[in-house]
């Protein structure tokens, strides 16, 4: 069954959507959308470094994503407005990554596949890595769920209950780096941010509790991945962007109609 590239692609898409779901909820709740972008864009630099040193791509992406996320965090709160800082970092990371890839001599790099993903070329090894990463991210977030939610509400409220807001932030940072590493093959560096933010935004008007929102997000993400894959196959369009288009379509539907029916 896994020999069919479409089955592999579908499983890769669903695995990524599941990893992105609970994390994406926190990205939305904590207004970290740009933070996700900056981290995702740094992945391209990781690709370039991996190719230069002939190491595994996922390790390079994981490392640069972690460094980027930590860097952004340590720079924040130093005078620059948060969105300006993140805007600078997100775009600078992308530009540096593009330059770094172009400097690689002797290696032919299919840049498009790293920018927009190449889900149809997912191998069995990729699939194993994606699902391992997804399980790790979901496990980590489930384990810290109550603490993460409390810290998201208010850092001082968390601290009074003996929960360190800094530790929980670190948990999310690690989860984000792993998700980026998992997702780059599926939707590419440019659209990881979309996969993080759009499904929770679709789910928001339909949910009354954080848990319901996270579950709905997982469903909507998976639906987008499979729907996008099908549509891309049907219409011969690039898969990553098609997945994001399906998610965006769902967003329009629930935003227009969901809020009204629930009121």
């Amino acid at each position: 069954m896994l020999d069919d590239f479409l089955v592999r692609a579908g499983l890769a898409g669903v695995g990524t959507a599941l990893a992105a779901a609970p994390l994406g909820c926190f990205v939305v709740w904590r207004r970290m959308a740009y933070f996700g972008d900056a981290t995702a864009h740094a992945a391209l630099l990781g690709v370039a470094l991996s190719l230069a040193f002939q190491g595994p791509i996922m390790i390079g992406v994981l490392a640069t994503a972690l460094i980027m996320a930590t860097l952004v965090q340590s720079l924040s709160g130093r005078g620059l407005a948060e969105d300006t800082l993140l805007g600078v970092m997100a775009h600078a990371a992308l530009a540096v990554g593009l330059v770094a890839v172009s400097l690689l001599s002797g290696v032919r790099v299919d840049l498009m596949s790293y920018l927009f993903g190449d889900i149809l070329a997912v191998s069995k090894t990729d699939l194993a890595l994606i699902w391992t990463g997804a399980a790790a991210v979901v496990g980590l977030i489930l384990w810290r769920w109550q603490r993460l939610l409390t810290a998201t509400l208010n850092p001082d409220l968390a601290q009074a209950s003996g929960i360190s807001a800094k530790t929980e932030q670190l948990v999310l940072t690690v989860a984000l780096a792993v998700t980026v590493a998992v997702a780059i093959k599926v939707v590419g560096a440019l659209l990881i941010g979309a996969l993080l933010v759009i499904p929770p935004a679709v789910a928001r008007p339909l949910a009354r509790t954080p848990e319901v929102m996270a579950l709905l997000t997982a469903g909507i993400g998976s639906l987008s991945a499979l729907g996008g894959l099908g549509a891309a196959y049907q219409f011969d369009t690039p898969t990553g962007p098609t997945i994001v288009c399906v998610a965006a379509g769902l967003f329009i539907i629930t935003t227009l109609f969901g809020a009204r029916t629930l009121r």
Binding site: D156, A160, I163
Partner: protein
């Protein structure tokens, strides 16, 4: 029983001290109030005591296993996070629905359990925060300007509730407030801050202290004295009844 002690505590943002050399303690059953002008370090002291900021100098000692019920100034509920009142009460520790109903009752807001947090009025919101703090079965209740956004009768009703809670649970209460007149009358001890502890003692002592007068006496043009008399009238209000429900778009 002594619950918390601070010795020579200097706190600040980064390395810039906001509050210097504070010696502080609070015992079970006590109501202690922090007063002081804006920027005097009231909230900073609270954050230092709960461990949210690390002291530049000095130390804070808490009794082992101290349970803190913290009611923050406000929470930003911007609507991204869907949260019912009962789900909120279960952060970070889960409670039975009976316990939650009791806590909401004690806080003066029964029947709110199924509402969304962001649909609550200001008064209801603060009382739900109080209910959450009560659910932790606190040894000490810490309220950081918990009546911000409430009108005067609302604030007075809120503080009466706090006094009731103290009587029932026997916990200590540490409050930060701008509502000098209301708060001071309900306190056992008042600390007046202005970058350091400028005076402390029972409300009457602090009120007559020259340091306190220098900070508040002229600022309120003597209105403070009037407030104290006003407080003799026993207003009875339940602010949640006339809270304004927010119109959510």
């Amino acid at each position: 029983m002594r619950l918390m002690t601070a010795d020579g505590l200097t706190l600040g943002h980064g390395t810039t001290p906001v509050l210097r050399d504070v010696d502080f303690h609070i015992d079970r059953g006590e109501i202690v109030t922090l007063v002081g002008p804006n920027g005097s370090g009231k909230s900073t002291l609270v954050k230092g005591l709960i461990g949210a900021i690390r002291p530049i100098k000095g130390r804070v000692d808490q009794v082992r296993g101290l349970r803190i019920g913290y009611v923050p100034q406000s929470l930003q509920m911007d609507g991204f996070l869907p949260l019912t009142v009962s789900r909120f009460l279960c952060l970070p520790h889960r409670h039975s629905s009976d316990a939650m109903a009791r806590a909401l009752q004690e806080a003066g807001v029964p029947d709110l359990a199924k509402r969304q947090m962001r649909d609550l009025s200001g008064g209801q919101f603060q009382r739900v925060l109080l209910a959450r703090a009560l659910l932790m079965e606190p040894d000490i209740l810490i309220l950081d300007e918990a009546t911000q956004g409430l009108d005067q009768p609302g604030a007075a009703a809120f503080y009466r509730q706090i006094a009731d809670v103290r009587d029932q649970l026997g916990c200590a209460v540490l409050m930060v407030s701008h509502d000098l007149h209301v708060v001071m009358a309900a306190s056992d001890r008042v600390l007046c801050l202005n970058g350091h502890v400028c005076c402390q003692g029972t409300p009457d002592v602090v009120q007559d202290a020259p340091e306190y007068r220098a900070l508040f006496g002229t600022g309120t043009q003597g209105a403070f004295a009037l407030y104290r008399h006003q407080h003799d009238h026993h207003h009875h209000h339940h602010d949640q009844d006339h809270g304004h429900d927010h119109e959510d778009a």
